[in-house]
Symmetry: C2
Subunit: 242 residues, 2 copies
């Protein structure tokens, strides 16, 4: 009997990768408009490399971009980049298609909901609050607070304890086969791989840990209903025998 459904945040509930791509493009365009003398393609490629090397939470991307492009330090161009990036972040931050409908349906079915995510806690909460999905969730678990990253079992175990459920009563939905699906399966949860975004064809070595593979979140309520109906039949043999 599934009692709790956990969701990953980035690229499961919120379209983070798509947002980041648009924001980065707008940043570069704004820098060029402010006078940065570089071809768009070259600057964008260099920015992606930089993010790849330094990580997406590095806060001096635009400074370093100028260095890599052999350009002088220019706060005007950097400011233009920051403005382009932030304006996009605020106007384009969106939930993945079908999220609100899915969450509402699960709540109507009487389920508890949680988020299990990695990342900077303040930035993760910013996404949750800006997209106004906070009220659907009973708990938000951020791995930083446990001092680990998914797929470490500690964060999944903590999630189960918080909701006082057994692993078999919980389901994890996420876009990453390694961190979400393998992670949740280790502690015995049901797993649903959301084949979406930039990890849709990655980490396939861990495919065996996915109980279900979906391409739309709106399949989640059906899966839960299916599992719970099945179990009800099994535990109620008289009804079954009718």
């Amino acid at each position: 009997m599934i009692k709790v459904v956990f969701f990953d945040l980035d690229d499961t509930l919120i379209d983070t990768s798509k947002l980041a791509e648009i924001a980065r493009r707008n940043a570069i365009e704004n820098m060029i408009r402010a006078g940065m003398p570089v071809d768009f393609g070259i600057a964008y490629h260099e920015l992606l490399e930089l993010i790849n090397e330094y990580g997406s939470n590095f806060n001096r991307h635009f400074d370093y971009l100028l260095r890599r492009l052999d350009l002088p330090h220019n706060p005007r161009w950097i400011a233009a980049g920051v403005i382009g990036y932030h304006n996009t972040k605020i106007s384009h931050l969106k939930t993945v298609r079908g999220v609100k409908r899915t969450l509402l349906r699960l709540k109507e079915m009487g389920l508890k909901l949680g988020i299990i995510t990695d990342g900077n806690p303040v930035k993760q909460w910013e996404k949750i609050l800006r997209t106004e999905i906070e009220d659907y969730f009973d708990e938000v678990l951020i791995s930083d607070f446990v001092g680990v990253k998914k797929p470490h079992r500690k964060i999944f175990e903590k999630a189960l304890r918080k909701f006082e459920v057994q692993p078999g009563e919980a389901m994890m939905v996420g876009d990453r086969l390694y961190s979400d699906i393998y992670g949740a399966k280790q502690v015995g949860m049901h797993t649903v791989w959301f084949k979406y975004g930039k990890y849709a064809n990655k980490e396939l070595d861990y495919l065996e840990y996915a109980d279900f593979v979906i391409r739309s979140l709106e399949e989640v309520p059906e899966i839960v209903r299916g599992l719970n109906d099945e179990e009800e039949e099994r535990s109620d043999p008289e009804v079954h025998a009718d």
Copy 2:
């Protein structure tokens, strides 16, 4: 003959203090809405004290606010504060009344214009770009790049060199008697004190360095015209004798 007019940025061209006040109020309100269990007045007062002690460019205001209020660290409340603050910053950032009209008039009179400001270069450029005043200015001088702060004479001397003018050919307009007016007067510029905002009644010991005191920026073109007409008459005695 005035050839260049320099302006300070914060609270002269851009309504920074008013903006910061609204942004801080909205941040606290948003934190309370997100569940922070504190009275608005208490939290706001504590935030002002904190900014006073750590400076306005400190980037952990909301973290430290929770510590000072003896509350647990809560990324949700911090994120709510960040959202409230940033949304305000973007929607309320405005030039001071009359700025664009004044700048346009000065350009029509054939003057060169510059900005002389302290502060974080990227943040200062963000304000200039967001309010769309960049095209009026021939140079933006930020003291950080010279390694000093106003009223250090180095930044004013650099400004004069950039425009290749004598001190008597330049005018400084700013809201701070100490950093703007005393600073510019040290190197021999004409000075116009804009008696406005939170420094309207402060640093009065330096009042003697102000050649003019104005309450509206729209008085600047008249002052320049007055000085330039006067000088023309003096240097052209025949016309004067008519």
